[in-house]
Structures are given as structure tokens and as C-alpha cells.
């Protein structure tokens, strides 16, 4: 019999004075050496489960707690989180807040210093973990100077240095590029293989399926518990729980096959065995290209903060009116810096940016706001008003809209994002998906011609992601030009019409979505990986963008 390293018995918790139980009578366990994935829609109680399991709730989050949490068969109730460090390690979603040291080495040492670890052992562990996580070359760097993905890896490494028997991770991969995501999963896999226990919360089902077992939560309760191939086998069930079904599972479900392959290779094997033959790609009528009038023109733009580390290295591109463009690239490739030059927020060191042929620095950043609407990655960095109405009206007033026209404009913007009727709500109590939509509404109200969104789907569950992207498709069809920045190839494949691939401050590829996704060497040069359906399609010489296209080819 395997022993349970962690066990929760009848655990319930409600935050503050709230009546609603964030988790309700949950029974949950992780055996020694087991890798458990925890999934579910936003607000299902996944983070609360992690917090209860690590003792963070109820110590840090006040509320009504009941039930028992045991680690190594001993109850942890009443123990301080600090006392549990070294046994339980927790990696949080917001990696920025976990880093505070002068350099990477000291960041890694901090936890071990607290546990009075001997200096020699500290150095050994730091070197080992840094190599494992790929931070070896960065030991003297300031954590704040690292890219998002490197920071996220550092947050994980700083916890791994404590050698915890139980590692709990709450969305540790949101800012990693696909290659780094896979690497992180390999590390978690290895940890479990060497006897540690791992609990991983993620929306990323393509990687979740590698866990030994999956626990699915809904409304604070565990609704399913078992192997990925059993739990996620029904695509509709996945969607109902805020998850994208793993693409190979969806494909096999569409083809009426019982198997649920965990990888593209496995899928190919089964398809060959069952005698499936792919028909040549039916000629696809992709949505035709827009008018061709250039809206934003970037000419040989160079940018750096310090001359020895250039951020943009001669970028030239043209965005046409009415297009739906995706800037794809790994973290630190210069995507965000590039879009900031569109609005004259940043001035290129050399090269020029034009809006409809006029240099943007002549128009100026605050006037450009009416032409190009920006939605930054973190909606919390722009929301400030006491209610939704005031928040949306802010931009309109700044641009001198007559007061009597404002209510109508606000209502229209809120309707467009599906938040109508929320005018009196305080933005800060909204869930993340809604705050993100509100940020879009704020920008949309000023009726810009172009809408630029930086990572619009990060941290959202499947349904929220689809909602957000459908909203953009809708706005695009109304004539807005859409530019999104993302490192999710899946999102680009499903929604973009044109893709630019940015790597180390250079555009290394540009073309229609179908053209770009077919070039796997180009993608891998930028540390990107095409979604499973695209890769499987490639094996049959097909250029498909979605599971349904691929399924059609097999019928």
C-alpha cells in the first residue's frame, strides 16, 4: 500500500465573512511519489485547495475553516507556514511577488539560509538546481532584470532548493514559452519519479495529461478523480469544466475512436493501425486578406535601454487596415517593446513608425490613444475607479466627449464586451476574466481604429479565453484592426489571420497563419511548438489549423 504524503479530510473553507464556501467538504490526497494535476474553471477552488494543503489557509487568509489536513500522517493544523517549509514547498502564480533578492544566487539561497542549511550544502544544491532549471548562466543577474519566463523558473527553483517532500504549484507555467513549459513538466515528472510528491494546478490540459492522476474541481467540490484518459475523454465534459479538451482526445472523439492517445506519436500509431488514411487537404477558403491600406508601418526600428543589450534589432513590418494580426514570440523577444513604439510611448533609437503615413511621434502618445487602443497585460494596472461606469467614462472624458453622450457610449462599449448591466459594480470585486473584459471596454469606448492587446488570454480558463477571443473576432468584423501579442501558438492558430514571429528583437517569419504554422523549423527557432493537431496534420502532409479540419481529412 502506498502511503499518502498529503491528505485532506472533509476540508471546507469560506473567505472572510463570505457565505459561499470556496471549497466544500473536500477529500483529497497525494501519495508519495505521485504527480497529481488539479484542474477546473476559474473560481472552482483550485487555489484554495493548494492554500489549505500548504497551511497558508487559514494562517494568512482569514475565514471559516473546518476539516483536517495531514502531512506524513501528522495534522498540520495550528502549524505556521514557516515551520512547514522544507516539507511543503509552494510556488505561486504571481512570480513577481516571490522575488526580492539582489541576484539569482542569493534568491536561491534565501530559503536555505532560513532553515540554517550549511554553506557547503547550499552551494551544492544551488548549482544542482540552477543547472536542472536552466538558470546556471544567470547566477549574478538581478531577478528583476530577467524575462517573465526566467523569473517564473527562478520562483520554482527557489522553492526546489528547500528540497520539499511535497511540491505544490499554482499555475507555474503561465509565462513560459512552449519549450520551457515542456521542460518544467519534465522536471516535475522527474521529481515525482524520485519519490517527491507533486500537486500542479493548471489550465493547460495538453500538459496536464502527463500527470499520474487528475482531480477535477467545480464550485468548490471535487467532481472527478482519475487518469487523464478517463476524466478528459469527453470533450463536452471538458468544456463544461472550463478546460480545453486535449486536442488528440477531441480528434479521436470526433473520429468515433475509443482510444485517448497522450501524444501525437501515439495518435499516429493508433490511426495507422486502425487504417485511417488522410485525404489531401481540401482547398480552404481562408477569410480573404483585408483591403491592403497600410495602417501601421514600422521601418527598420532599433531600440535599447543600454547599448550592449539591444531589445529591437531592426524590425520592419506593416499592419493593414482591418487585419487580425498576431505577434508571436517567446518571452523577452521584444514583443511588448515593439508595440510600445506604435503609440510613441517609446522612441526608437533609430528607424521610424508611421500611422497612416504620419510619423507617430508627431501625433504624440495621448492623441495616439484615440487611434490605437492599448490593453496591457495586467488589467489591475489601469483600473482605479469606484464603479464600472466611471472606469469606462474616464477615457471618454479625457478626450473631451460631451457629458450627455457619455452614458450611451459607455453602454455601447460594455455591451460589446458582454458586461452590460454592471455599471454600478466595483471593478476590484470582479473576477479576472471580467476585469480583462472591462479593460477592453475602457479602451473600446474611445472608438480606436486599432486595438492592441498584450497577452489577452493569460490566466483565463478555457471558456473565458474563448469569450475574450470571440469578442475580438466580433470587433474585427465591425472594422477594428486587431493586434494581439501572445506566446500561445494555439490562440494564434485559432484566431489570427496574419502572424509575425519575433525572436531576439527581429522578425524571423511573417505570413498567413496557415503558412507560418506549417513551418515547424521556424517555430522551433523561436522556442515555439505548433499545437498537436497541426503537428499530426504535418505528419500526413496536411496543413490544418484545427481539430475539426483534421478530423474532416480523415473522414
Amino acid at each position: 500500500m502506498t502511503t499518502n504524503l498529503l491528505s485532506l479530510k472533509n476540508v471546507s473553507f469560506a473567505y472572510g465573512g463570505s457565505e459561499r464556501l470556496a471549497i466544500n467538504n473536500v477529500n483529497f490526497s497525494i501519495a508519495q511519489g505521485e504527480f497529481v494535476g488539479i484542474a477546473g474553471a476559474s473560481g472552482a477552488g483550485k487555489s484554495t485547495l493548494i492554500r489549505c494543503a500548504s497551511g497558508i489557509t487559514p494562517q494568512f487568509f482569514k475565514g471559516r475553516f473546518s476539516g483536517q489536513v495531514r502531512v506524513n500522517a501528522r495534522p498540520i493544523t495550528g502549524k505556521r507556514v514557516a515551520e512547514l517549509a522544507g516539507i511543503i514547498g509552494t510556488v505561486f502564480q504571481d512570480f513577481e511577488a516571490q522575488l526580492f533578492s539582489t541576484n539569482v544566487r542569493r534568491e536561491l539561497a534565501f530559503g536555505m539560509e532560513n532553515l540554517c542549511v550549511n554553506r557547503k550544502i547550499m552551494h551544492q544544491r544551488i548549482n544542482k538546481i540552477a543547472q536542472l532549471i536552466g538558470l546556471s548562466g544567470l547566477m549574478e543577474r538581478e531577478p528583476q532584470s530577467l524575462s517573465g519566463g526566467q523569473k517564473q523558473r527562478l520562483a520554482l527553483a527557489s522553492v526546489l532548493c528547500l528540497n520539499p517532500a511535497l511540491l505544490l504549484c499554482d499555475e507555474p507555467t503561465t509565462d513560459l514559452d512552449p519549450v520551457a513549459k515542456n521542460m518544467l513538466l519534465d522536471i516535475l515528472d522527474d521529481l515525482a519519479g524520485s519519490g517527491n510528491s507533486v500537486g500542479l494546478v493548471t489550465h493547460d490540459t495538453e500538459r496536464l495529461i502527463r500527470a499520474d492522476r487528475i482531480v477535477l474541481m467545480r464550485d468548490g467540490s471535487i467532481v472527478a478523480n482519475g487518469k487523464a484518459t478517463e476524466i478528459l475523454s469527453d470533450p463536452q465534459f471538458c468544456i463544461d469544466n472550463g478546460l480545453f479538451a486535449p486536442q488528440m482526445f477531441s480528434l479521436f472523439s470526433l473520429l468515433g475512436l475509443k482510444d485517448r492517445p497522450l501524444s501525437v506519436d501515439e495518435a499516429k500509431e493508433v490511426l495507422d493501425r486502425e487504417g485511417f488514411v488522410a485525404k489531401a487537404s481540401p482547398s480552404r477558403t481562408d477569410i480573404t486578406m483585408p483591403s491592403g491600406d497600410p495602417l501601421i508601418t514600422v521601418e527598420d526600428v532599433h531600440f535599447y535601454y543600454t547599448p550592449d543589450s539591444p531589445v529591437l534589432n531592426g524590425v520592419s513590418l506593416e499592419i493593414e487596415q482591418g487585419d487580425f494580426v498576431c505577434l508571436l514570440g517567446q518571452n523577452g523577444s521584444g514583443k511588448t517593446t515593439l508595440i510600445k513604439t506604435f503609440n510613441a510611448f517609446l522612441h526608437p533609437v533609430s528607424g521610424r513608425v508611421f500611422f497612416k503615413g504620419i510619423p507617430v511621434e508627431k501625433i504624440g502618445p495621448s492623441k495616439m490613444g484615440q487611434k490605437i487602443g492599448f490593453v496591457f497585460q495586467n488589467p489591475d494596472q489601469m483600473l482605479f475607479a469606484a464603479n464600472v461606469f466611471e472606469e469606462v467614462a474616464f477615457g471618454l472624458r479625457n478626450y473631451g466627449m460631451p457629458e450627455k453622450e457619455i452614458p450611451q457610449k459607455v453602454a455601447a462599449a460594455l455591451k460589446a464586451v458582454g458586461l452590460n448591466g454592471t455599471e454600478d459594480i466595483d471593478p476590484f470585486i470582479m473576477v479576472k476574466g471580467d476585469r480583462q473584459k472591462l479593460a477592453v471596454a475602457c479602451v473600446l469606448a474611445c472608438e480606436p481604429e486599432v486595438l492592441i492587446l498584450d497577452e489577452p488570454t493569460t490566466g483565463l480558463d478555457a471558456n473565458e479565453q474563448v469569450d475574450m477571443m470571440e469578442l475580438l473576432v466580433n470587433l474585427n468584423s465591425l472594422g477594428h484592426t486587431i493586434v494581439i501579442i501572445t506566446h500561445s501558438v494555439q490562440i494564434a492558430a485559432s484566431y489570427a489571420r496574419r502572424i509575425f514571429i519575433l525572436d531576439s528583437g527581429k522578425i524571423i517569419g511573417e505570413g498567413t497563419t496557415r503558412e507560418i504554422l506549417g513551418k515547424s523549423d521556424l517555430l522551433s527557432r523561436a522556442n515555439l511548438i505548433a499545437p498537436p493537431c497541426v503537428r499530426l496534420g504535418c505528419m500526413y502532409g496536411l496543413s490544418v489549423l484545427s481539430v475539426s479540419e483534421l478530423a474532416e481529412a480523415f473522414k
Binding site: 500548504s54 497558508i56 494562517q59 494568512f60 507556514v81 514557516a82 515551520e83 517549509a85 511543503i88 514547498g89 509552494t90 505561486f92 513577481e96 511577488a97 516571490q98 526580492f100 533578492s101 539582489t102 541576484n103 544566487r105 542569493r106 534565501f110 530559503g111 536555505m112 539560509e113 532560513n114 532553515l115 540554517c116 542549511v117 550549511n118 554553506r119 547550499m122 552551494h123 544551488i126 549574478e140 528583476q144 532584470s145 522553492v159 528547500l162 543600454t306 510600445k340 510611448f345 502618445p365 495621448s366 487602443g373 496591457f376 495586467n378 489591475d380 494596472q381 489601469m382 483600473l383 482605479f384 475607479a385 474616464f394 477615457g395 479625457n398 476590484f428 475602457c442 479602451v443 474611445c446
Partner: protein
């Protein structure tokens, strides 16, 4: 772009034990009070300035020299009003400028800049962790010294967040520079609210992250860095003591 003052140079000051450095920092605040005339404090100021370049604090000086000039000018202007002198020097409109007040203002201005220079040298050559270590070695509980130095860690982060927020609001048409004084202050509301909210949120998360990594588990703590006491410690401490002694002898004689 570095956000903190610390500049890893591996030089003389960096290799002095943090406790010695803290003692010297405190001792370096004494000499400015041992001179009453500009000419008595100016040599010490020039010495600190040289020391600052020796400590490779040039880049940091460039960041604060405006503040130093403002302090200097403010000191002269303020003391011209508040320090009573005897001998009139010249008049500006209806205000009579006294020789003594002017000299006192200049002296105080140099003193203030001496403090800044000492602090810059210390911060340039000392990682925050060593600062914390030094304070706790001097008897301050680790939690207290960590909290004290936390402000040095968090200020640059807040500034970074602040810049991001300013950019986000400017994109919504916020014009910070228009209108009268009241209107201008009101313009900062859309900046201050998100800065505070994200600051509070961050502090909450930091508390959890610190404890998860064993912060405060035991009173004793080990340290990754080694701090051997070398000739540098003796040289630096003796140097400061000699300066204090020489200036003190001159002052009290």
C-alpha cells in the same frame, strides 16, 4: 537597467565586512559636525567624493546629483531667512542677506551632501542581503532588519509598477500636465489608486512567499556569503577614526 543602487564591482568597499561597513557609515556622519565653516567641511566632502568614485559609485551619483544640488541651494535659501547673522552682505529687494547666515547655509548644505555621499558609497558597495546581515549581527532581530531593508528592495519595484501604470493611463488619454494645481492633483488619482492596490496586493503575496520559504522558522540563520575580516576592515575603520580625530582636534582646540 539596474533598479537598485548596488553595483557588483568586487572592489575594496564591497569586500569589507558588513558590520565594519555599518560602523564606518555611522562614524562617517560625525566629521561634518566637526566643522563650522565651509572651508572646514569642504575637504571632507571632497574626500568623500573621491571615495565615491573609488567605490565606482559614479553611475549612482549621476542619479542623485540633482537632489544634491537642490539640497544645497535649499539649505542656503532657508538659512538665509532663519539664521540670524550680524554683518550685512547685500540686499535682495527688501531682504538683507547676512554674511553669517550665508556661510551657515553653505556649511549645512555641504554637510547634508556629505551624508548623501556616505550613504551612496555604502549602498553602491553593499547588497541588501549584506545590509540585513550586518544589522542582525549588530543585535537587531532578523525580522526587524529584514523589514528595515525591505524598503530598499521594494522602492525600485514600486517605481517600475508606477511607470507601467502611468503608461497605461496615458494610453487612455490622461494628460498629467494640464490644468490648475487642483486639477493636476486630481490627475494623479488614476495613478495612485492602482499603485496602492498593486502595492498592497504585492505585500500580501510577499508575506506568504517569505514564510513558505521558511522566513522566521528559527532565530538562527545561516548565510550563503562568507565575510572574512581582512586588512580592509582595519584600514577603513582606522581611516575614519583618524579623520574624526584630526577634525575633532581642530574643532575643539
Amino acid at each position: 537597467m539596474s533598479l537598485t543602487f548596488y553595483y557588483p564591482s568586487g572592489g575594496f568597499f564591497e569586500r569589507v565586512h558588513p558590520v565594519s561597513k555599518l560602523i564606518c557609515l555611522m562614524a562617517s556622519f560625525v566629521p561634518p559636525f566637526l566643522g563650522n565653516e565651509p572651508l572646514e567641511v569642504f575637504p571632507y566632502f571632497s574626500f568623500l567624493l573621491l571615495a565615491a568614485f573609488f567605490a565606482q559609485a559614479g553611475a549612482n551619483l549621476r542619479r542623485v546629483y540633482k537632489l544634491m544640488i537642490i539640497l544645497f541651494v535649499m539649505s542656503i535659501v532657508l538659512w538665509a531667512f532663519f539664521y540670524r547673522g550680524k554683518s550685512a552682505l547685500f540686499t535682495v529687494g527688501r531682504i538683507v542677506i547676512m554674511k553669517e547666515s550665508l556661510l551657515y547655509g553653505v556649511t549645512t548644505g555641504i554637510r547634508l551632501n556629505c551624508f548623501i555621499l556616505s550613504a551612496i558609497i555604502f549602498l553602491t558597495s553593499t547588497p541588501i542581503e549584506d545590509f540585513t546581515y550586518g544589522l542582525s549581527k549588530l543585535g537587531m532581530p532578523f525580522a526587524a532588519s529584514f523589514a528595515l531593508t525591505l524598503s530598499f528592495r521594494l522602492t525600485p519595484l514600486f517605481m517600475e509598477t508606477g511607470q507601467a501604470i502611468v503608461m497605461a493611463q496615458k494610453a487612455r488619454g490622461l494628460d498629467l500636465d494640464s490644468g490648475g494645481i487642483i486639477k493636476r492633483i486630481r490627475h494623479y488619482v488614476p495613478i495612485i489608486v492602482p499603485v496602492l492596490v498593486s502595492g498592497l496586493r504585492r505585500a500580501d503575496q510577499l508575506a506568504v512567499a517569505l514564510e513558505s520559504r521558511g522566513f522566521g522558522k528559527t532565530k538562527k540563520r545561516s548565510a550563503i556569503s562568507e565575510f572574512p575580516i581582512t586588512w580592509r576592515d582595519y584600514v577603513l575603520i582606522s581611516f575614519i577614526l583618524v579623520i574624526c580625530f584630526v577634525m575633532g582636534a581642530h574643532h575643539f582646540s
